[in-house]
């Protein structure tokens, strides 16, 4: 996200702690569908949308959640730099009503930077349920800022919020046109209080002020002085890049800073104590304000959450419940997807005949390209891939919405720590189930660069939405009896699929440990994870949004990837080089390697050509095997199994294909995302070869064992 708020429409930025409903407010303002979820770090990159209010257009910017203005992670740095240097017309600081005191700390910190703040106390409905009473007028008086109460999920308070923000922007603009900003502030608005620090610090600030004339003029003097005294490395860096203020280049300022630091040290304020006092000032003030504003009617307001946590994270129940939930989600996915899958297959089969007849007037190369290439790939994606995705994704989102994912991170952190990694990697791994590229971007929530890299490099070891329907299809064909969706059939399918997913998770742990003992040596850094309150998921919205958005996305991507891949296959199959077609040359070249891995040349080629999108791997295999032949049976999976058996597949081939589907190079989107996030081709290549190497080893082993002992 570029830092730029100067253009055209005035900008309103949404800031706040993680997981307080910023994205929900953003969505209801802009009508956009920024993905929301109940865990810290959902909005990692920031989003921008437009909103019409009061006869004009506003730009709304959703910043990543942050606990403080001092940035620890990449996403917090984005939020901090935006607030400091982008100069938005107004900032809405969103707070969680059920945890106001902690949220106020950030409000107070932002109040030091800009005065155009509207405080939004969100989740008032949740607070009411927990019998927490808030005196918002009093809060507004104590902060010296406008305060709006809201329950964003029910749509309450959004309009008032916009009114306040628009009013603030207007006011700022008028002041600026008068060019008497300082004077206007004194007369028009009551002076907004600021934090006070112990005397020696205040003294040092006032002694630094004369040296700051003309430097970074957009920032408040007092606050800038404090930051310079604090020597926050990440902030100084941003100051140099965003405001062209490099302290090293200003010898007088640097000398004064040295002097003040030594004076402070003499007064007992070494750099550590200095920072402690600066942070404590905000925390203590927040405590004082909260004491006057918040009243808990019940002493144990969060009793329900604690009871649930006793089970979800319990010593004996935590892990089994996690496994059971994972299996349950897969079971619902498998059973639920079966019916639409079957119905769609037979529908498409009818359509294909119709389409073939319709195209009979065209040249044969065109009709076979369209029917066998594009149409069949699409129908495969729609009938086999889409139904499980359309069920899995909302289920997963519901769990996410309810606040379950941070608990998974909590439960698994111990093992990640053992592997020298960060527990938050569980969150990015979970995101990987949806989409590995999203998971890789999500790794920004991990503070330590070393642990972040580990999470990025191992993300594609869990199968994304584009891969696990393939696993389901292969298991159905080769490892269940009669493809029946009887109780035992679906159960064994669920168990096998869950086992495969667990294998992926196990390899994530092992690879993480391997990396942190070799290339990314280091000790695990510290870890602090918030476990947010449980919330009832927004069933209606989650289901509509994820089914609709997901369907369009998957269809679009499949279309874009399938058409050219289909074209390539068709061309290869129809151009002769010497006595053979190019396709035969190509698959023949890959065949020895494929055979060693329990696969064949066609399967390997399909994986390679499937690089743009994993969804099209199986359709490519079908297309190549069936070049010329047509599928004649209405039951597509049965027909497919016959086709695969005819081409020499055994259960070993099926198993190896599944393993290689689980462990191979990430798709093109993920690969490029890794390059972008790590800013290095070397790490991107490692992320490419690491899962591939794992897959090849597994396939060689399975094939070897099968041939030695069983076949």
């Amino acid at each position: 996200m570029a830092i730029d708020a100067g253009l055209s429409a005035p900008v309103i930025a949404l800031a706040g702690n993680p997981n307080v409903g910023k994205s929900t407010i953003f969505n209801s303002l802009t009508g956009m569908h920024q993905h929301t979820g109940n865990w810290p770090g959902k909005t990692v990159a920031g989003a921008e949308g437009r909103h019409f209010f009061g006869g004009r257009e506003w730009r709304i910017v959703d910043l990543p959640g942050t606990y403080s203005i001092s940035a620890h992670s990449v996403e917090e740095k984005i939020a901090r730099d935006y607030l400091c240097f982008a100069n938005p017309s107004a900032v809405i600081v969103v707070c969680d009503a059920t945890c106001l005191e902690r949220n106020l700390n950030l409000v107070l910190q932002i109040r030091e930077i800009t005065q155009n703040i509207v405080v939004c106390v969100n989740l008032l409905d949740e607070a009411a349920k927990k019998q927490i009473v808030l005196d918002l007028p009093q809060l507004s008086r104590l902060l010296g800022l406008p305060v709006v109460g809201a329950s964003a999920r029910a749509g309450r308070g959004i309009r008032e919020l916009m009114e306040q923000a628009a009013f603030l922007s207007q006011e700022t603009k008028e002041e600026e046109t008068k060019a008497e900003k300082a004077k206007a502030e004194k007369t028009k608005r009551p002076l907004i209080p600021r934090l006070t620090y112990p005397k020696p610090i205040e003294k040092a600030i006032s002694r630094l002020l004369p040296f700051l004339d003309g430097l970074a003029p957009a920032l408040p003097r007092h606050w800038l002085a404090l930051q310079l005294l604090d020597k926050d490395g990440s902030f100084l860096e941003s100051l140099a890049t965003e405001a062209a203020l490099d302290i090293e280049a200003l010898p007088e300022l640097a000398r004064q800073l040295d002097l003040l630091h030594s004076q402070l040290a003499q007064a007992g304020y070494d750099s550590c104590r200095l920072r402690d006092e600066i942070t404590a000032a905000g925390v203590k003030e927040a405590e004082a304000i909260a004491a006057k504003v918040v009243r808990h009617i019940r002493e144990d307001s969060h009793r329900r959450d604690r009871l649930i946590d006793n089970w979800i994270t319990g010593r004996f129940t935590g892990m089994p419940l996690m496994l059971a939930l994972l299996a349950l989600v897969f079971w619902i996915t498998i059973v639920g997807a079966n019916y639409p899958s079957a119905a769609l297959s037979s529908l498409f089969f009818t359509l294909e005949n119709g389409l073939a007849r319709l195209l009979s007037g065209f040249p044969s190369w065109l009709s076979s390209l369209l029917v066998e290439g594009v149409f069949r790939t699409l129908t495969w994606v729609v009938s086999v891939m889409l139904p499980p995705m359309a069920i899995f994704f909302p289920l997963f989102t519901l769990l996410e919405d309810a606040g379950y994912l941070p608990r998974v991170a909590f439960n698994l952190d111990h093992y990640f720590q053992k592997c020298g990694a960060c527990g938050k990697q569980a969150l990015t791994m979970a995101m990987g189930f949806g989409c590995n590229a999203a998971g890789v971007i999500g790794c920004r929530i991990i503070d330590s660069p070393r642990e972040r890299l580990i999470a990025v490099l191992t993300n594609s070891l869990v199968p994304c939405n584009g891969r696990f329907p393939t696993l389901i299809a292969i298991i159905t064909m080769f490892f269940t009896v009669n493809f029946s969706m009887s109780a035992t059939g679906s159960l064994s399918l669920t168990i096998l699929l869950t086992a495969f997913i667990l294998l992926g998770i196990l390899m994530t742990f092992l690879s993480s440990a391997f990396l942190s003992h070799t290339l990314l040596k280091g000790i695990p850094s510290s870890f602090a994870l918030e476990l947010p309150p449980y919330r009832r998921p927004q069933f209606h919205q989650v289901i509509i949004r994820s089914v609709f958005d997901r369907t369009l996305f998957v269809l679009g991507r499949a279309l874009i990837a399938a058409a050219p891949a289909g074209l390539i296959i068709w061309l290869l199959a129809n151009i002769n080089a010497g006595s053979q077609t190019l396709l035969a040359h190509f698959t023949g070249f890959l065949d020895p390697a494929g055979r060693l891995m329990g696969l064949d040349g066609v399967i390997l080629m399909a994986f390679i050509l499937g690089f743009p999108a994993n969804e099209i791997v199986v359709p490519l295999i079908i297309m190549t095997y069936g070049a010329g032949a047509s599928l004649t049976e209405a039951d597509s999976l049965l027909a497919l199994k016959t086709l695969l058996l005819d081409n020499g597949w055994t259960w070993v081939t099926a198993l190896c294909a599944m393993v290689f589907c689980l462990f191979h190079f990430p798709c093109a989107t993920t690969f490029l995302t890794i390059k972008k996030e790590t800013q290095s081709w070397r790490w991107a290549l490692l992320a490419f070869f690491l899962p591939t190497a794992i897959g090849i080893c597994f396939c060689l082993l399975i094939n070897g064992f099968a041939h030695l002992f069983i076949l």
């Binding site: 620890h72 945890c99 925390v283 946590d309 010593r315 909590f410 602090a528």
Partner: protein, 88 residues
């Protein structure tokens, strides 16, 4: 009751689920020190230990109304004054 035993200074990591303590000092360094302070864990903060993870580590603490999970590795660097229990 002997207050010397009850009001002893100990590591945060030794706080058992259900018990509370006042933060006295932190030996954490750098970014983790600041991170926990930003979460409200400054001197004089009352912290309650809520529950432990399935493998005993990390632990979940109530810090100013929010639930924060910390590893033993980190929590042992924070010294607290254990609260005397009224029933003891």
């Amino acid at each position: 009751m002997d207050n010397h035993i009850e009001n002893q200074i100990t590591q945060l990591s030794r706080l058992l689920p259900g018990s509370r303590g006042l933060v006295r000092s932190s030996a954490l360094q750098g970014s983790m020190r600041r991170r926990l302070q930003d979460l409200g864990l400054v001197e004089g903060t009352l912290v309650r230990c809520l529950h432990q993870g399935p493998s005993g580590d990390p632990m979940a603490y109530d810090i100013r109304g929010a639930v924060i999970a910390l590893r033993k590795e980190d929590a042992q660097h924070i010294l607290i004054e254990r609260e005397a229990r009224p029933w003891q």
